[in-house]
């Protein structure tokens, strides 16, 4: 019965072994742990319980790694077969759905578990450094392993239900957001309503939300890890978090099996859809005639949804901002126009950051994914012009968010101007700006090299880079008194600026290469 599983398992391990990037990733992981070890060793005289610091670093590194794996690795288990149109062939070869699901998800789960287990001996060094007990190490890895199992099955279910990897990854992100943020936000909103005396404190709704919130708190891996990382932890690792995550993982796998026949055999479109772009003559939803900058036109309409999508964003952001401001106004009782402006400004600032990150991951990837670069590259213009035009077209999609950002700026202009002087004089402000720019460029480069997951991978790399940087700064300031942190920030900022400039050339060369393939 499980011959198919073993065949798929064998193939997955062989492919994994042959790929250079998997070894590079493991090497990078080992280097980070080694770096954490060195920093813990060097700071043992100045920081109390350096073992606990090392342990916490490694555990949170693993937590982020597991989150990113669920978005990129586990969420593509079945969708990659759908995109290659090989599911039908596998089923015809006698592989039953359960074997197929196991064969696709188990190798990824085992690779990730192996990565966790390999670190185990190194983590034991934290005990030697002091501040950590063996039971804490066991409890932390157990919590992470069972969380990994749960997320692998969440990814698998999303992969079964969704037609494409991108949709599956998005569904995983939404599920995680609702798990980690949705219920706490709901609980907070309910609390606020109780404070306002809109609903009774002992009503069914309040009781239910509180009950769910408490249950989620107990089953949350973050709560469990925070408990484990407190000095003197000696509880059993087989607590509520373990059993709930294990049970949820099994249930999710059951759902994946249940939905397989319903969703996995549907045909995957072999061309990108038009989204909301209409074929009929419509001022808002049809692309109309091509602009003189044809590439900008194409990306504005066919990657970003054109004027129709801009209108939808305009209305949605407006409604969301009105709701947010109303809620804050009602709960705080003193909500000035300036504060409303700041709310608008910061909300839209975050939206713009997210939107540009998504654009960075898509702008070149769509051309690579649908094999259309060769036609674009044959136009009598440079690849740089092509690339900048595409980016320009995508950035036009930001107009609704910028509109509200501008309103926010006008309403809180005094506050913003008062703070500008302080902010601009901070080297860390410039470093953050450059770092965000670098992140977008890194995402764009990665999107031309890998089939999926450029955004999470760029996020991991940036996170690791930041961690290494801040440790380096801390270490240097401890041992070399003459080195100012500001100086290092400037050096780091300049290095990233150079990286940004270089990335423009790298993207251009990469696109030329891809067009010629």
């Amino acid at each position: 019965m499980f011959q198919g599983t073993f065949a798929l398992f064998n193939r997955a391990l062989c492919v994994d072994f042959r790929l250079r990037r998997t070894h590079l990733f493991r090497f990078l992981f080992a280097v980070i742990i080694l770096f954490c070890l060195i920093s813990a060793q060097l700071t043992r005289w100045t920081i109390g319980a350096p073992g606990l610091v090392l342990f916490a670093q490694i555990i949170y590194l693993n937590f982020v790694f597991i989150l990113m794996s669920s978005i990129s690795l586990f969420a593509t288990a079945i969708t990659e077969e759908k995109e290659e149109q090989t599911i039908g062939l596998l089923l015809m070869a006698g592989v039953n759905p359960v074997s197929l699901l196991l064969g696709k998800s188990l190798p990824r789960l085992i690779s990730a578990l192996l990565l966790l287990s390999i670190q185990f001996p190194f983590t034991l060094l934290a005990i030697t450094l002091g501040g950590v007990t063996f039971s804490q190490v066991i409890a932390a890895y157990t919590a992470l392993a069972v969380f990994l199992f749960c997320l692998s099955n969440l990814g698998l279910l999303c992969s079964v239900v969704c037609a494409r990897s991108r949709a599956a990854s998005t569904l995983v992100v939404l599920s995680l957001l609702s798990y980690f943020l949705g219920v706490p936000l709901l609980a907070w909103a309910v609390d606020a309503m109780v404070d306002q005396k809109w609903i009774a404190a002992d009503s069914f709704l309040v009781n239910s939300v509180t009950q769910i919130y408490n249950w989620l708190q107990q089953s949350s891996v973050i709560t469990q890890l925070n408990r484990i990382l407190i000095s003197g932890f000696s509880d059993t690792p087989w607590g509520m978090q373990f059993w709930s995550n294990l049970f949820l993982g099994i249930v999710l796998f059951g759902f994946a099996c249940l939905f397989f026949n319903r969703f996995a055999l549907t045909d995957v479109a072999m061309s990108p859809g038009r989204g909301i772009i209409s074929k009929k003559k419509s001022k808002l939803f049809s692309p109309g005639r091509t602009w003189m900058n044809a590439l900008m036109w194409k990306d504005f309409f066919f990657v970003n949804g054109g004027f129709g999508m801009a209108l939808i964003k305009f209305i949605s952001y407006g409604i969301a901002l009105i709701a947010l401001c109303s809620f804050i106004g009602y709960t705080t009782h003193s909500y000035s126009l300036e504060e409303i402006g700041l709310t608008l400004f910061w909300s839209m600032f975050i939206v713009i950051l997210i939107e540009i990150s998504l654009i960075a991951g898509r702008v070149f990837h769509v051309e690579v994914q649908w094999n259309t670069l060769v036609s674009t590259a044959m136009l009598p213009q440079s690849m740089a012009y092509t690339a900048y035009s595409k980016v320009g077209g995508c950035l036009l999609g930001l107009i609704p968010a910028f509109f509200y950002l501008a309103i926010g700026s006008v309403l809180s202009i005094e506050e913003i101007f008062n703070n500008l002087g302080t902010i601009f004089s901070e080297p860390s402000f410039w470093m953050t700006c450059v770092e965000v720019l670098f992140f977008w460029h890194l995402t764009a480069i990665l999107s031309t090299h890998i089939k999926w997951g450029a955004l999470p991978l760029a996020f991991i790399l940036m996170w690791v880079g930041n961690m290494v940087f801040f440790f380096s700064v801390s270490l240097l300031s401890l041992f070399v008194k003459s080195v100012a942190a500001e100086g290092l920030i400037v050096v780091f900022t300049l290095a990233m600026l150079s990286g940004i400039v270089i990335s423009h050339f790298l993207i251009k060369e990469r696109l030329i290469l891809l067009a010629s393939r």
Binding site: P272, P287, T290, V374, P380
Partner: protein
């Protein structure tokens, strides 16, 4: 159309070589393509056809040798060359979420044409490719043959002097293939130079004036189609189909001066005969057949020998 360059080849390839990760895709190839000709570029899979095409259309820089298109070097005059050529790759490289009109309008604008000019050009190319009724169809909803026509229409939007077509007929059904070849003949009549690659020589035999045969990165033959047959076939071979079987005709023809061989095929009404062109002619043979009461249905050069010529020139084995 731009001004022609008299006495100058449109494509001039001199000793070009190119490698990918240690594999020598092209090993010093040289050939020329004359203007307003339909030039076939034939070779087995992996021979280096697509690499050569990509170098000609400026997508790849040659690692050795020199390539000139309209007298411009492909490494330095990229924009000038791109304005005058149209390249159709061997895979669908269309924005399939667009309608046919949107797609052609996009490329028209990208080539710098104004709205009125674009309308005119799009109507012209749609008429030429017989796609008038499909203007508002989504490309993703079209058949493979229709999508190939859209690609061809796109290539024609900027009115190029040179068309570079990489295996345009692959994957098409016989009708779509014939229709595509008719469009190419029409384009040739319009004065375009067409460089078309294929791995099937017989497919291009009726269409092309000249041909280059490439195998394992080496040019095996470059010249006229007739030259290929003359070179490779010392004795031309023809297939004769009669309206009805004539007893003794094969033996009588075999005894004619200059006739080297007469074979009966599986069909009773068919004969395959080869002859020494220096001794007799097709005219003599046809007169003799009529004299022997043979009612001729068709008399044509045997394609099998064209394929044989290709096989003789190229090495065996799939790469």
């Amino acid at each position: 159309m731009n001004e022609p360059f008299p006495n100058q080849p449109v494509i001039d390839i001199k000793n070009v070589s190119h490698s990918f990760k240690g594999h020598r895709a092209l090993q010093g190839i040289s050939f020329q393509v004359n203007q307003q000709s339909l030039h076939g570029f034939v070779g087995p899979n992996g021979a280096g056809k697509t690499t050569t095409l990509k170098i000609i259309c400026t997508l790849l820089r040659p690692q050795g040798g020199k390539v000139e298109v309209f007298g411009h070097d492909v490494t330095s005059a990229v924009k000038d060359i791109r304005k005058r050529i149209g390249f159709m790759p061997d895979h669908f490289s269309t924005y399939r979420q667009m309608t046919v009109f949107e797609y052609l309008d996009f490329f028209g604008a990208a080539y710098g044409l104004g709205v009125a000019q674009r309308d005119q050009v799009i109507n012209d190319v749609l008429t030429l490719t017989d796609m008038d009724g499909r203007k508002d169809s989504l490309i993703s909803g079209l058949s493979r043959g229709m999508q190939q026509r859209v690609s061809l229409a796109r290539v024609l939007v900027n009115d190029p002097d040179l068309l570079l077509l990489d295996e345009p007929a692959s994957g098409l059904d016989p009708r779509a293939r014939i229709e595509l070849m008719e469009i190419l003949q029409e384009l040739k009549r319009m004065g375009k130079t067409i460089f078309i690659s294929s791995h099937i020589l017989s497919e291009l035999a009726e269409l092309c004036d000249s041909v280059t045969i490439i195998d394992r990165g080496l040019v095996k033959y470059s010249g006229t189609m007739d030259g290929l047959l003359t070179q490779e076939q010392e004795h031309p071979c023809y297939k004769l189909t009669l309206e009805s079987e004539v007893a003794g005709l094969a033996d009588s023809l075999a005894n004619e001066p200059g006739v080297i061989n007469v074979d009966k095929t599986d069909r009773a009404r068919e004969l395959r005969l080869s002859f020494d062109a220096s001794i007799t002619t097709t005219g003599n043979l046809l007169s003799k057949i009529i004299e022997l009461q043979g009612s001729i249905e068709s008399f044509q050069r045997d394609k099998k020998h064209l394929n044989q010529a290709f096989l003789d020139l190229t090495e065996q084995g799939v790469r």
